[in-house]
Each structure stands twice: as structure tokens, then as C-alpha cells.
């Protein structure tokens, strides 16, 4: 048994240890501990990815001396390793770039706890990615919910507190639905391990027993996870929570926390119900419809928005719609496109949130777009970063957003029933994206407003912030230009997720 098989377990344990020990550390040490632990995890995930890429296999790791259905089990394939790598890298970059804003936004006595919650958040995301047991997934969904609410509430303003309460209530509603579904699932199959669940569900699908509970379980799981990942019409908590939090939190929440639940949903599709049964239950069609609605409505809300961070948050609603639309297409390429979009959005939205923070910095911290005239001339790097993020989200070739749209289109060709509506909505959504990003870009690059009190303000971002911006821009280029290996890894990873070893 190769040493690399320990990596999922070690990654989760490192983040837990970092979280627990930072309770006693002061604020600077807690930040270093969190970022240091994440760096180690990122390295390990890269090694794991390289190892799996070479061997072309997936493996399971039993947590303890009892093998899986009795004990807990982790499972890792190319898909899991790639997601873990991306999530930890985005987490590190967001925390490094958002460091100054955290110092300014959050009271000194709370900063240690903020980084503690970030470590816990990473731990729960890694566990959601690697777990092979549906109840373990539920437990870590709870940690994820609490930690995510905590990093919104850390910036203590009236707006964040109301946003957190709304987020917490909606999120707990989702958790409740997931818990009910998990217990119903146990009642009709007697299993919690995903492999055993898959064989039981295949039998039930063939025999037609418990048809109604199966439908209810799939619906509750899909709706519960859709609430947590802000699929339209359950998105109402997202704009205020992501729009009011500190820049690093907005980047983390939009970039990766939403995706953690989508990955769990994918695992449920592939490893619990099996793709064909999930398709027979028509839940994919439901997600498809709401995904399409989300793509349009998210953008429509964003067009009306004058607050830059809220606009970006509504854009996340639209992008989550893209991902669900890809899942709902029920074609192989559609799934790959959805997974690719998870990655593309995970590296683009943090870039946009962090760049927006740099631009607000030189505009007297006003979030209103009209007060930001010429901001991109005052903070050149943030301006370039925002431009590239916006172009990527619109879907201009050479950037990552284009590749996912390209594959969404290809995926729709495989499913003639859904092809026409997908293409129309994709085109419409692209136009809408351009409708809200382009005016912002024009405002940002207009010559300085002579009346503005901020016209001589220079950017004072640290070197860390600038290097993170450059790394994000490069990542976007790399994913946009050299996407074939990533697509190949995702294709193989999804095959492994479906059970081919």
C-alpha cells in the first residue's frame, strides 16, 4: 500500500489540528498556522494528484481497524484530488490577499477565531470531497455551515449580522432536509456507505420497491443541497451574505464553499443512486430547469444592482445556475463541463471579489459603482485583474470561462431534447453577463472625476496582494489555454467516481 494513500486522511487531520491549536494562539500566529497548514495540504494534494495521474487508479482508505461498511472510509480518485488541490490553493490565495482587509474589518480579538474557522471550513470541505460515507458527509456539512456563518459574522456590522441570520436559517433548513433524507435512506437500505447504497439502490430501481421513498429522498437531498449552494430560487440568502462579508470571506464563500455542496450532490448522483436511476427519477430535469432559470435571473438581478459586491454575488447565483444546468443535461460532456465550471468559477470569482476590494480601497471604500469612476487607473493591477475576471465570466476566448461554455454547448449537442433551450439560454445569459460587466469596466477606466475626493489616492496594496492577483490571472490564462489535460483528468475522475477503478 503506497504512502500516498494516506494523503486524504493526513490532509483532514492537519487542518483539524491547525484549527484546534489556534484556539490558544494569538491572532498573528493563528493566521500563520492556518495558512501554513493549508500550504502543506496543497502540496500533499498535488502529490496525490500526480500519483493518481500516473497510476490511473482510485483507492479507499479505512479510518480505523474496521473495514468499510462497519467503519468509516475515505475514497480518492483524480476528481477528488483535483478538487482538493484547487480548493486549498484558492483558500490560501484568498486568505493571503485578504489579510490586510481582515485586519481592517475584524476586531483584533476576533482575528484568531476567524482563521480558526477558516481551518475548520477547509477541513469540512476536504472531508466532503473525500468521504465515502453519507453520514460522515452530513456531519461535515454541519461543520461547514457553522464555520461559513462564522466567517460572515466575524465582521461585526449590522448588515453582516442580519445576513448571517438569514444564511444560518436557510442553511439549517437545507441541513434538515439532508438529515431527513439520510435517515430515510438508511431505513430503506440499511446502509450508509456509498458503495453499498449504490448496490441497494440498483436493486430497488430494478424491483420497483419503495418507489415513493426513493423519490422523496432524491428530492430532499437535491433541494437541501440546492439551498446550500444557492440555486435559484433558493438564492435569497447569498447576495447579502457574500456581499457584506470581508473580502477574503466573500472570495472563499463564492469560490469554494458553494461548490463543496455541489460536489456532494455529484457524489450522490454517481455513487448513491447511480446515474441511470437518478435520471429515471427526473430530478436531473428539475435541476436543469432551475439551473436555466438561475442563469437568467441571477444575471437580471445583477444588471439592476449598483453595489459592486452585491453584483458579483448575484453573478455567483448565475454561475451556480450554469453548473446545475450542466449536471441537469444528463450527458457525459455536460457533467465534465459542470465540473470544469466549478474549477473555472473557483479561480475567477475570488479574483473578482479581491480585485473589487482593491478598487474600493482607492475609492474611499464605497461599494457603489458610481463612486468608483477611474478606480482602475488609480489601482492598475486590481483594474487589470477585475477586467480579466469579468472577461472570463462573460466567456471571452483565452480565459477559463470560455472553455466551460464551449463544453456546455458540446454537452447540449448530446441531448437533443434539451439542446435548443440550452443554447438559447446560454446566448441570452452571455449577453446579460456582458450587460452588467461592461458598464462597470467602462466606469472603472473613465478618466478621474474632477469632483471626486479620491482622485489622487494611490493604491497601497501589499506585495502579497499583488502577487496573489498575478497568480490568479495566470491561473485563469492557464485554465483557459491549456485546458485539455484538466478536461481529461475530469473525464477520468468522473469515471472513477462512477465506480471504474
Amino acid at each position: 500500500m503506497a504512502l500516498a494513500h494516506n494523503i486524504p486522511f493526513i490532509s483532514i487531520m492537519i487542518t483539524i489540528l491547525a484549527a484546534v491549536t489556534s484556539l490558544l494562539a494569538d491572532k498573528n500566529r493563528a493566521a500563520r498556522l492556518c495558512i501554513g497548514a493549508l500550504t502543506v495540504v496543497a502540496f500533499l494534494s498535488a502529490i496525490l494528484f500526480a500519483y493518481l495521474w500516473q497510476t490511473g487508479t482510485s483507492f479507499t482508505f479505512s479510518m480505523g481497524h474496521f473495514p468499510a461498511p462497519w467503519g468509516n472510509e475515505l475514497q480518492a480518485g483524480l476528481f477528488e484530488a483535483l478538487m482538493a488541490l484547487t480548493f486549498t490553493v484558492v483558500m490560501i490565495l484568498s486568505l493571503v490577499a485578504g489579510r490586510e482587509r481582515v485586519v481592517a474589518d475584524i476586531a483584533p480579538s476576533r482575528q484568531g477565531m476567524y482563521y480558526l474557522l477558516c481551518s475548520l471550513l477547509t477541513c469540512s470541505l476536504l472531508a466532503l470531497i473525500y468521504t465515502n460515507d453519507i453520514f460522515t458527509a452530513y456531519v461535515f456539512v454541519e461543520i461547514n455551515t457553522l464555520a461559513a456563518c462564522g466567517i460572515v459574522a466575524a465582521k461585526d456590522t449590522g448588515e453582516t449580522i442580519t445576513a448571517t441570520i438569514r444564511y444560518l436559517v436557510m442553511s439549517l433548513l437545507g441541513s434538515g432536509l439532508i438529515l431527513i433524507a439520510v435517515s430515510l435512506l438508511y431505513a430503506i437500505t440499511g446502509h450508509l456507505l456509498m458503495n453499498d447504497l449504490l448496490s441497494s439502490m440498483t436493486e430497488l430501481a430494478a424491483s420497483g420497491d419503495y418507489a415513493m421513498p426513493c423519490m422523496v429522498i432524491m428530492l430532499f437531498l437535491a433541494i437541501g443541497l440546492a439551498i446550500k449552494s444557492a440555486l435559484f430560487p433558493f438564492h435569497t440568502w447569498l447576495p447579502s451574505a457574500h456581499g457584506s462579508a470581508t473580502a477574503a470571506s466573500s472570495a472563499i464563500l463564492s469560490g469554494i464553499v458553494l461548490k463543496g455542496y455541489i460536489i456532494l450532490l455529484l457524489k450522490i448522483f454517481y455513487r448513491v443512486f447511480g446515474l441511470s436511476f437518478a435520471r429515471d427519477l427526473r430530478v436531473a430535469d428539475l435541476l436543469f430547469v432551475f439551473g436555466l432559470l438561475g442563469m437568467i435571473m441571477g444575471s437580471v438581478f445583477a444588471v439592476r444592482e449598483k453595489n459592486l459586491k452585491h453584483m458579483l454575488a448575484y453573478s455567483s447565483v448565475a454561475q451556480v445556475g450554469y453548473i446545475f444546468m450542466g449536471i441537469g443535461l444528463s450527458t457525459d460532456i455536460g457533467m465534465v463541463a459542470a465540473c470544469f465550471h466549478i474549477l473555472a468559477h473557483a479561480i475567477t470569482k475570488p479574483l473578482l471579489f479581491l480585485a473589487a476590494d482593491g478598487l474600493m480601497d482607492v475609492s474611499g471604500h464605497s461599494k457603489n459603482i458610481f463612486n468608483m469612476q477611474g478606480a482602475a487607473r488609480r489601482n492598475i493591477l486590481a483594474g487589470i485583474a477585475f477586467t480579466i475576471g469579468a472577461l472570463s465570466m462573460i466567456g471571452i476566448p483565452m480565459f477559463s470561462g470560455f472553455v466551460s461554455k464551449f463544453y456546455f454547448v458540446q454537452g447540449s449537442f448530446q441531448n437533443p431534447d434539451k439542446m435548443l433551450v440550452t443554447l438559447i439560454v446560454l446566448a441570452l445569459s452571455t449577453v446579460l453577463n456582458a450587460m452588467y460587466y461592461l458598464p462597470v469596466l467602462v466606469t472603472l477606466y473613465l478618466s478621474n472625476d474632477e469632483q471626486s475626493p479620491h482622485r489622487h489616492r494611490q493604491s497601497a496594496n501589499s506585495r502579497n496582494y499583488q502577487s496573489v492577483m498575478i497568480i490568479f490571472i495566470l491561473l485563469n490564462f492557464i485554465l483557459g489555454m491549456f485546458y485539455e489535460p484538466v478536461i481529461k483528468a475530469l473525464e477520468q475522475g468522473l469515471l472513477m467516481l462512477g465506480g471504474a477503478h
Binding site: I16, T21, D133, G150, A153
Partner: protein, 259 residues
């Protein structure tokens, strides 16, 4: 913000419609859940899907493999210890969020405490005498439940909740100054960190050896005696400490904004 009379009227109408819709949605949800429950296998019937090799091994071999008489303790702290680590972390993250949101600066806390101390029940003689009688019994009872978790019903979660409640009673009856002699902010944070670190390291060892198919050196002991069940007894104690700290800490922070 002032609302005009038209807006107020609309708001009232919206609330009425909202209530009706909420009622209908809840009713539909209840109907769906009831229908599903009627379609499930009957609870506790022989031959249910839940009666499979998983349960069979827990019941048949649990004592032999884990050394714990209480099968529930064997399942949550040995077979599925990773889930329980997660549960403990849920409590931990909730506590951290509460500390972050509610803890006052030390100066603010002391001033507010002085202002309000005359209303505290610690001046109440009857309450204090009853508490003096109850607290020793509750302490012994909670420790009994925690350390016998692998032998009889109970364990870290149940015992820890009683222990935390005992601390709360002490805090209310004798005031925070006296409570601080054994549990101030510093020792509180140290307790909870030490407990969680122990859980991570002890179980990390067992996950690592188990995952790599290495032998574990932890002895199982003689089933039925107090020192048996391998790691279950120490883990029950750590879980008990974490639960007691979370219960007590949440009370103190919600009550007065400090420990």
C-alpha cells in the same frame, strides 16, 4: 424609515398572504413526510433492510472486537469514531462562533457585571442551600456516567451535558468570581484544546494504523472492568470535557458575555 400608509397596507397584505402560503407549504411538507413514513418498512420488524451484516457484526462481534459492553459506545467511539470526531468538531465550531460573536472586552465585561450583580440569584439563601446539596451529587453522577460509558448506558455526550449543567448551577448560585477559581477563560480554553488534541492524536494513531493495516498496541482489557474497551474510556472522557465546556461556555457567554 417612515412608511406611507399605502406601503403599510401593502406590507400587511403581504404578511397575510405570506402566512397563508407558509401554512400551505408546511401542510404539504407534513403530508409528504407522513405518506413516506407509511411507505417505509415497519419500525423494528424482523427482516427489515436495516437488519443486515452491518448490524450483525456490531451485535455479534462488538464485544469481542472492541472490548466494550455498551454496543452504542463501541459503534460511536470505535467503529465509527471519525463521525464522532466530526460531531465533536460541530460543537467546537459552534462554541468558537459564540465566543467570537459574544465575548466582551474584559473591561466592558467587569463593568456590566458590577452593574447587574445585585439582580443575581446568588444572594438567594434558599437557592444556594439547595444548590449546595445538589452540586456534589450531580458531579458524582456525571462522572459516573462518563467513565462508565463503555459499560452501561451513557457516555461522554450525556455525562458531559450533566457536568456542564452542574457548572452552570454553581455559577448561578455562587457567582462568577467563585466559578472562576476552577474555570476561568484561560483554563477553559486549555481544557477544550487539550481534550480535542488528545482525541485527534489518539484516534489519528488508530486511523493511521488501521488504514495501513498495521497492528495497534492499545490493549482491549477485560470486558466489564472499568479499564477496558481500548480507547473508548479516554475518548468518552475527552468528549465529556468538550461537551461540558461547550454547554457551560455557551451559557456564560449568552448570559454575561464572558467567562
Amino acid at each position: 424609515m417612515q412608511l406611507s400608509s399605502v406601503e403599510l397596507k401593502l406590507l400587511r397584505r403581504f404578511r397575510k398572504i405570506y402566512t397563508i402560503i407558509a401554512f400551505l407549504v408546511s401542510l404539504a411538507m407534513a403530508a409528504v413526510l407522513l405518506l413516506t413514513v407509511f411507505n417505509l418498512p415497519a419500525f423494528g420488524k424482523a427482516g427489515n433492510p436495516a437488519e443486515n451484516e452491518v448490524i450483525g457484526r456490531y451485535i455479534g462481534k462488538g464485544l469481542e472486537e472492541t472490548g466494550a459492553v455498551n454496543i452504542v459506545a463501541a459503534v460511536i467511539l470505535d467503529y465509527r469514531a471519525f463521525d464522532t470526531l466530526g460531531e465533536t468538531l460541530v460543537l467546537f465550531s459552534a462554541l468558537v462562533a459564540v465566543i467570537m460573536l459574544l465575548k466582551d472586552e474584559p473591561g466592558v465585561f467587569t463593568r456590566r457585571y458590577r452593574e447587574r450583580s445585585q439582580f443575581e440569584p446568588e444572594k438567594d439563601q434558599i437557592f444556594r442551600s439547595v444548590a449546595a446539596l445538589l452540586i456534589p451529587c450531580l458531579l458524582v453522577f456525571s462522572i459516573y456516567i462518563i467513565v462508565n460509558g463503555h459499560l452501561s448506558a451513557g457516555g461522554g455526550f450525556a455525562g458531559g451535558a450533566i457536568l456542564g449543567a452542574t457548572f452552570i448551577l454553581y455559577n448561578i448560585a455562587y457567582g462568577i468570581e467563585k466559578a472562576r477559581r476552577f474555570l476561568n477563560e484561560k483554563s477553559f480554553l486549555r481544557f477544550i484544546t487539550a481534550a480535542l488534541l488528545f482525541y485527534c492524536i489518539a484516534k489519528g494513531y488508530s486511523f493511521f494504523t488501521g488504514g495501513n493495516h498495521l497492528p495497534s498496541v492499545i490493549p482491549l482489557g477485560l470486558p466489564g472492568s472499568i479499564f477496558s474497551g481500548g480507547l473508548i474510556l479516554p475518548l468518552n472522557i475527552t468528549v465529556g470535557i468538550v461537551v461540558a465546556c461547550v454547554v457551560y461556555g455557551a451559557f456564560c457567554l449568552f448570559n454575561r458575555g464572558g467567562l
